[in-house]
Symmetry: C2
Subunit: 291 residues, 2 copies
């Protein structure tokens, strides 16, 4: 079928899901001279993309996505932001050719975890002859490193919370459920599901206000890559909003996986973390258990 | 030290945490001729215990608990209901003798998961020469059995949700984090942390209302025993309130671990489940993975 495709060019497309990340990636790409084309996911991206060439489509409407990309000369695609909603059966449109190549595509889109869905989208795009690149290839300075980013470092209590929350986050990740967990006083109090990190932090703040979490112990948010996660899919990310919600939840700080996380608005985040007395640190979790 | 203790008699005491279970156990015990003494946990039990001999104390104030039990001739103790709040350092009072016997007691009370804390309380009570009995020994008809309790049984979609949520609940249980998970459309969308089952179901209802969970797929709540859980500690339980919240969250039904769960108000629950079109079923999860 390759002969029926128009010539592939090398324009960068951004598939934009929810959260702040897609906008950040688009602005960063433009700043380095790219002219990104935005495919805004219906019901996911809340951004106003009027400053960019853009189109809106459902994640399930793969036919439109592929056609649009070909029409606009897209050769590279970056996935960014979350995909909370699964498409309904009636919303899935993909070329029969694609469904034959990848028989599990429909089932995965309907029922897979986040990571499974994103991996499937990557395979679909690559089957069209386009290249999927990681967010970190567009904005390489986003990758977190090991150790504290700011002035503050975790104390012993925070280290115990990091260990507890990291164990829970890894267990979740193995099930392709979520990437985040919060531990307070050495005990995991919240696990991230479909509500996302911000929703989970809001819950911790509410539990704290209701006296169901100790007032005297702070706690830590940990976000880790899922075991086996394709780095081109939805990397764990934190930004100013994460920091503010962590602060509102009474946490001592945030730990993210070194080398596999995105720290957005890094300079502003570190400066606000220092001012507010929170640490932000990169960790290397023990992944010796079977992934 | 045994010679300094007053003679132990055989009165039943109920350590009453949060939720409906303690009241249910107390009423059931009285119905079979017991005269239960209630130790109501401060900030946990919301019940009015004025119809029973009772005392209120903090879970950390172990000295008072032990003294009160001896004074009232308690020989058997049943633990029931949840313990959400961890005691603060300043609230922990235990005889030095006990602390010497069980050096990890303070650390566990402060930072352990639910199961660890309850196991520690069991050891403390047994060190006093009293016997800890399971809720199922007082009200044996509470134990769930395998298969549907009512008219409805899970369909194929619900079975897939049960499998996904059960895998997540087992992973949580291994970490002593929680007992419950909700899956919708084959995908785990919520995991139980310190907010408890009711709080988790409220969240699922909110996610559904916000369109972040499919309107077309129902989903299932699964509650399982933690691997290695002492059956005398906090068994997974469901009641009318659980059913109502599951209904409000748009779920198709509830699955609990056969032989290791409490189904409260069983007749009323089954009749309401039938009327509302939800299934309630006992399952035997695959525990072949290392516990």
């Amino acid at each position: 079928m390759a002969e029926s495709r128009p010539e592939l060019r090398d324009r960068l497309a951004i598939i934009a899901g929810g959260g702040m990340l897609p906008r950040y990636v688009a602005d960063a790409a433009r700043a380095r001279g790219e002219n990104p084309y935005i495919l805004s996911l219906r019901d996911e991206s809340g951004e106003d993309w009027s400053g960019y060439d853009h189109e809106t489509a459902s994640i399930g409407n793969y036919s439109v996505i592929a056609t649009t990309f070909r029409k606009h000369g897209v050769g590279r695609v970056v996935l960014s932001g979350w995909v909370r909603r699964r498409p309904e059966w009636r919303d899935i449109h993909a070329p029969l050719r694609t469904l034959r190549i990848i028989p599990s595509v429909v089932r995965t889109l309907l029922t897979g975890g986040d990571d499974a869905v994103l991996k499937m989208v990557i395979r679909l795009i690559e089957a069209e002859g386009m290249r999927v690149v990681g967010v970190h290839e567009i904005v390489p300075d986003l990758l977190g490193s090991k150790g504290p980013l700011g002035r503050l470092a975790p104390d012993d209590a925070a280290e115990a919370d990091i260990a507890a929350a990291a164990a829970a986050a890894l267990a979740l990740g193995r099930l392709d459920v979520g990437q985040g967990a919060v531990a307070v006083g050495g005990r995991v109090v919240a696990l991230e599901g479909a509500e996302g990190t911000d929703g989970m932090l809001e819950r911790v703040a509410a539990l704290r206000a209701a006296g169901r979490i100790s007032q005297r112990r702070k706690g830590v948010l940990v976000k880790l890559c899922k075991p086996g996660q394709d780095l081109r899919a939805d990397l764990p990310s934190i930004g100013l909003e994460t920091l503010r919600r962590a602060k509102a939840a009474g946490l001592a700080g945030i730990a993210v996986e070194a080398g596999r996380s995105l720290v957005l608005e890094r300079a502003a985040l570190v400066s606000e973390a220092d001012a507010e007395g929170l640490f932000v640190t990169g960790i290397l979790p023990d992944r010796t258990e079977k992934a």
